[in-house]
Amino acid sequence: MIDRWIGNIDLLVIAPVLNIQLLLDGVFVGAIFALAAYGMALVWGVMNVKNLAQGDFVIMGGYIAYVLTLQGIHPIFGLPIAMVVMFIFGWGVYRVIISRVINKDMFTSLLATFGLALVVQQLLNLAFGPEVQVAESHFEINSIFDGLVTVANIKVISLFLAAVLAILIVSFMKYSRMGQAIRATAQDPRAAMVMGIDTERIYAFTFALNAAICGAAGALISMIWVIQPFFGIGHSIRSFVIVTAAGLGNLPGVIVTGLGLGVAELYGGFVLGAELQQFTVVGLLVGVLVWRQIQQKRHRQVVQ
């Protein structure tokens, strides 16, 4: 097994062009990971809810885009529709579930969203079956470096769309009245309430916004990668890894870590073999948590 890994690393050294392919693909998927992770950080920072259904929201957005493709609507136009649908869905979820667990301890929200994740993935499974699906964009695939590296046009477009969305969301958070209210609530909900901000509405809006971001990320994923009802937990863990490593409210950190995770995952899949690609993500999660702990050890005094 280890020989095979070393062989794969040798391959990367002998044919450096392969690195370019891995790096490019890593950046393309990593941008989408970063988008979903930003949504998770938003909800986490504002209302202290760790949304384990994050990945399932992403997959749900992907299926919305996929269904629209079957109806003849191009996935790029499906993306805003997925965002709107997911926004409404997120608002409903907040009203029914999240608003009731928001004041309880953190494990409660974790479990409640886990239950939600289970329901969402199983309903998707019942509706669409466990097959892997792609929202076909019918765009051309370009080859560079004499055909050794392939870049699908849709991937470039998706990267561009992800960047546009990120800029839109960030400027919304910075300049709009609602964005300011969200940030005020994140800093001090009580003070925000005194200032006349309806925090309950802010929470609902934030959660719905997160769901909409997930919907967009899912639509992009369905265009450039694959969706399947049970892939949600992988996306949840990716978001969690990125947020834990980058910290809350650290936007450049989220972007860099997201791209880094995308690249690391593809390299892991290439070097260790496809069956360990999922392990790379989970292994990174454990690694990040251990690293954080070592980092914080000096700040903590423990009775030994």
Binding site: I97, Q278, Q293
Partner: protein, 353 residues
């Protein structure tokens, strides 16, 4: 009915039921066996989750680890493991009755003790994490272990390993594993009851209530946390070893490290029954197992949706669980004294939050 006989009642119900039910309904022997596995998982989860306030989502790691350690011991005592797993299906290896029982016994012991070792090693890694980080970190460990074992050819990789065949009649086999699981679950329950009674129980409750203050009072929190985890790991590991042998074939993702099924079930069972109580996990496991069997039989296809809904409803609307609800409704029957002044103060505190 006085307090003593009321306390003795659940013991009687479970002991008599545990012996009488499989005799009366031998067709459901497998379901009853799984019920005891569930009770064991719930009781051992509650040591950390309920009594110590550390909500682990990765206890299932020990289940799979115990299963694999036991399998490797059973096979490795008499054959070369790599050869056995590589020739999976091609070569039929027979174990004599003597070899089977020796292997199983030693395998279960090895599973239990190696899981104590794993608990200490992983405790060193995960116990610095708090709250949701602990939950996600332990979940990560369990998921990573499943993926890693799936790629490890020595233990059969994703294809799994078939275990030595029980030397005897199928009916005897079912009864044999029922008795072992029953005894192990009772032992785990008694062990948990024993540790809650003494100084250890007070210490882990102190950690749950306020870890910093507990440390300030001179409690070696890390040591208590690791010991608590090691106790759960010991029993869960042995249970995994038994479960693997009962199924007869082990495979990393669905049977050994079923993080999203058994791994979550144990948490849900504790919440349903009332976490942090002695009988809560047992009652929760019983109700949950019945619910699961009914939905799996009558709502096939929708069973997971029903399960997810149960989790949400349980967490959102019924967090105190069955035992917690009973204690709130009839505190005097549990010998609990409610201090109105204190209760009022707590409500004030809730409001001011």
């Amino acid at each position: 009915m006085n307090l003593f006989s009321r306390q003795a009642a659940p013991y009687l119900i479970y002991l008599v039921g545990g012996i009488a039910l499989p005799v009366l309904f031998p067709n459901y022997m497998f379901q009853f066996t799984v019920l005891w596995v569930m009770i064991l998982l719930a009781v051992t989860w509650d040591i950390l989750g309920g009594q110590m306030g550390y909500n682990s989502l990765g206890n299932i790691f020990f289940f799979g680890a115990g299963m694999y350690v036991c399998a490797v011991t059973q096979i490795g005592l008499y054959y070369d493991v790599a050869e056995y797993t590589a020739s999976f299906g091609a070569v039929k290896v027979d174990f004599t009755a003597d070899q089977y029982y020796t292997g199983l016994f030693l395998g279960i012991l090895a599973a239990g003790f190696s899981c104590i070792f794993f608990a200490i090693v992983f405790g060193w890694v995960v116990f610095g994490l708090r709250g949701p980080y602990f939950a996600i970190g332990t979940l990560g460990v369990a998921l990573a272990a499943g993926e890693l074992v799936g790629a490890w050819d020595y233990v059969g990789g994703g294809g799994g390993v078939s275990l030595p065949v029980y030397p005897g009649e199928p009916d005897d086999r079912a009864a044999f594993f029922y008795i072992l699981n029953f005894v192990l679950a009772v032992a785990a329950f008694l062990a948990a009851r024993g540790v809650y009674r003494g100084r250890f129980g007070l210490a882990i409750n102190a950690i749950r209530d306020d870890e910093e203050k507990a440390e300030g009072m001179g409690i070696h929190t890390k040591r208590y946390k690791t010991i608590g985890w090691a106790i759960s790991a010991f029993f869960v590991g042995m249970s995994g070893a038994l479960f693997g042998n009962m199924i007869g074939f082990i495979e990393p993702l669905e049977i050994a490290f079923p993080t999203v099924t058994f791994g979550i079930f144990m948490v849900v069972m504790c919440l349903l029954g009332g976490k942090g109580t002695l009988w809560g996990p047992v009652i929760g496991a019983t109700v949950f197992h019945a619910f699961k069997e009914v939905t799996w039989t009558y709502m096939l296809g929708w069973q997971w949706v029903a399960l997810g809904t149960l989790i949400i409803v349980n967490v959102v609307f019924f967090q105190q669980g069955i035992m917690g609800w009973m204690q709130e409704t009839w505190p005097e029957k549990f010998g609990l004294v409610v201090d109105d002044g204190l209760a009022a103060e707590e409500t004030d505190l809730e409001v001011s939050r």
